[in-house]
């Protein structure tokens, strides 16, 4: 079964939801997508936003290297005092985010509606 190609794209048109942008992720997150993932994050940062929202709804596989990439994004966000918000994780990867304690350092929501609602409250 062929793997879905990875893509990380800023939601077009870029929605400045209370100074936040959404990056839609698709495919599998492993070591090969580092450049694409960081490039998407770079574009989000260039929008001069307070929050960056990662949509994992289209992600079907994350391996340990992929976890490391997400840790890297989280480290960048913290360094630039941005909020990293996440939604769309499957139950299993929610489990992984708990085990790795990523949920302790980022705001995790089950769906886009609740993530956007959180952005509104951050006004």
């Amino acid at each position: 079964m062929p793997n879905k190609p990875f893509s990380a794209s800023l939601r077009e048109p870029v929605m400045h939801l209370n100074k936040g942008v959404i990056i839609d992720l698709h495919g599998e997150i492993n070591g090969t997508v580092e450049v694409a993932l960081n490039a998407a994050y770079d574009r989000a940062e260039a929008e001069d936003v307070h929050s960056i929202v990662l949509n994992f709804g289209g992600v079907d596989y994350i391996n340990s290297t992929g976890i490391a990439l997400i840790v890297g994004l989280l480290a960048r966000a913290r360094k630039s005092s941005r909020l990293l918000i996440v939604f769309g994780l499957s139950d299993h990867y929610m489990d992984i985010f708990n085990i790795t304690r990523l949920v302790d350092f980022m705001n995790v929501y089950p769906d886009e509606q609740s993530a956007v609602a959180q952005l509104s409250q951050l006004q």
Binding site: E28, N63, S64, A68, V71, G72, I99, F105
Partner: protein
């Protein structure tokens, strides 16, 4: 009275003469030489139009035939005309008593002529029918022999390999056909499986089928890659392929030890693999054999997990029509395969489905051929591999290549579907397997393509185990420190190093063993009912 009966073949050069007439001509001492009357001779037209006896002595006609007849001593001609066609002729010489023919003689001969003509006509037709019947009988006999010979070109029996079941069905639309299938054991223990379909039906297709089978077998003696086998067969077949003919052909090479099946396809129907997740088409690109020289064939592979079935077939199945001219079709076939457990029973199941669809009066339009390959659940034969009563759900090798863990993960998940294992735990198992396999491929085998990892999945009543073996030997693998997320975020610890941590978090137990050449990780998951299952 002398009787001359000229064979009709000589008279009009159209119909063959009955053998009995020819015998009269040669055996009787009183028979004179027959005189041939050509269709362009005026006498021929006269014979067609005259009624009764023609007296040559009084006949005034400028004709070569009349001159020859007179020279031969012929006195009377009695044309035998039936349905406007000159079917024969009686030529009489002088009476043996030297008396002249009387008017009674002439009347008798005149009355005899139409009856003799009708009888001769019937005799000719009967003879022609006999000749035609003999010709058909000879052709039928030749076809029956050809059919028997063709069947000898098909495997006399399906292969017998532990843990596998093979079945085949071949039904030509005529006595002989263009469909074929073959099982060819290769020297390295693998098995080549072929199914093919020659355009057209009957004898021409059967002849091309025979040569194709021979060429494929010859190619398999030197080549073990299905794409290469098809490429070679195409190059050999193309120069001698009759116009407007070609061969579609699917060639698969199965490793019975691992379940790995490589395949290439020369324009044949894609085979179907029935897995626990559904039915998938095994597609690979390639032109039919014999159409164009220098073709190459895309090569792909799949893994047959225990209980998986691969079904190969010819278009005579999916293109069969019912009385309403509706086609059997792919969707129907996929549904039928999806709802059946496979094995040789699948043959009868599909055959019955086909006959039910087409109806009892179906005149088979095309050759129909199926080949079924099924992998069985296999009991463990290795007492050291786990509990004595454990069952091996799957055992296979996978090349060490970046990203290769994903396919292994999915295959193990398929194998585990045979036991009672909750979906949420399957996701944990998949992550544990993927991380273990990544470690084995990267750190044990250094992503060397020639060093495959080995995977075995087995279960007993209490637990499920996945063994992942690399060829790193008894060399300690450097262990990453326990991940500390705060340290990673602060940059004092690498962001990486989650693999072993995740594995331990996903499994109920973990064992590591090594020999001088191998390094094995055993992932253990307690099955439902075990008190300590995660």
């Amino acid at each position: 009275m002398s009787v001359l009966t000229v064979p009709l073949r000589k008279l009009i050069r159209r119909n063959p003469a009955p053998a009995s007439v020819r015998a009269v001509e040669t055996r009787s001492a009183s028979v004179l030489s027959a005189v041939e009357i050509l269709p362009n001779d005026p006498l021929y037209s006269l014979c067609l139009s005259a009624s009764g006896v023609i007296d040559l002595e009084t006949l005034r006609l400028e004709s070569d035939a009349v001159r020859q007849l007179r020279t031969a001593g012929i006195r009377l001609l009695i044309p035998l005309v039936n349905q406007g066609e000159l079917v024969g002729m009686i030529q009489l010489g002088a009476r043996m008593s030297d008396q002249e023919y009387t008017s009674d003689d002439l009347r008798l001969l005149g009355n005899l002529a139409p009856q003799a003509a009708a009888a001769l006509r019937v005799a000719h037709l009967a003879y022609q029918q006999q000749v035609e019947a003999r010709r058909r009988e000879r052709l039928d006999q030749e076809l029956r022999v050809a059919g028997i010979i063709q069947q000898t070109l098909l495997p006399k029996a399906v292969p017998s390999i532990d843990g596998w079941q093979f079945a085949a069905y071949w039904q030509p639309a005529r006595t002989v056909g263009g469909d074929f299938y073959d099982f060819v054991p290769l020297q390295d223990g693998r098995l080549m499986i072929v199914i093919g379909d020659v355009t057209d039906k009957g004898v021409p297709a059967a002849l091309v089928m025979a040569s194709t089978r021979t060429i494929l077998r010859a190619a398999a003696e030197r080549l073990i890659s299905p794409g290469e086998i098809l490429r070679r067969a195409n190059d050999v077949l193309h120069p001698d392929m009759p116009p407007k003919m070609f061969v579609t052909c699917l060639c698969a090479v199965l490793d019975p030890h691992t379940g790995r099946m490589q395949y290439a396809n020369a324009g044949h129907n894609a085979s179907l693999q029935r897995t626990c997740d559904g039915v998938i088409e095994l597609r690979a690109r390639g032109m039919p054999l014999g159409l164009m020289p220098g073709m190459t064939y895309e090569e792909k592979e799949t893994i047959l997990a225990p209980e998986d079935t691969v079904f190969m077939y010819s278009d005579g199945l999916v293109e069969a029509h019912d009385s309403e001219r509706d086609m059997f079709g792919m969707k129907r076939l996929e549904t039928l395969i999806g709802e059946h457990r496979g094995g040789d029973a699948l043959i009868a199941y599909l055959r019955d489905a086909l006959f039910n669809f087409t109806g009892a009066e179906w005149e088979q339009e095309d050759d129909v051929t199926f080949v079924v390959v099924q992998r069985h659940m296999q009991p463990s034969a290795d007492p050291e591999s786990g509990d004595g009563d454990s069952t091996v759900l799957d055992e296979f090798e996978s090349p060490s290549e970046p990203g290769g863990e994903r396919a292994v993960m999915e295959r193990v998940a398929r194998a585990v579907s045979a036991v009672d294992f909750p979906p949420a735990r399957i996701e944990r198992l998949k992550t544990a397997v993927a991380e273990t396999v990544m470690n084995a491929m990267e750190h044990g085998n250094h992503y060397r393509a020639d060093l495959p990892i080995k995977v075995r999945v087995q279960a007993d009543a209490r637990r499920l185990s996945v063994f992942v073996t690399d060829q790193g030997g008894d060399v300690p693998i450097s262990q990453a420190p326990t991940p500390d997320l705060e340290a990673k975020l602060a940059g004092t610890q690498s962001a990486r190093g989650w693999g072993l941590f995740l594995i331990k978090a996903m499994v109920d137990d973990l064992h590591v063993s090594a020999t001088p050449t191998d390094h094995t990780v055993q992932l253990v998951f307690h099955l439902a009912g075990a008190h300590d299952a995660k």
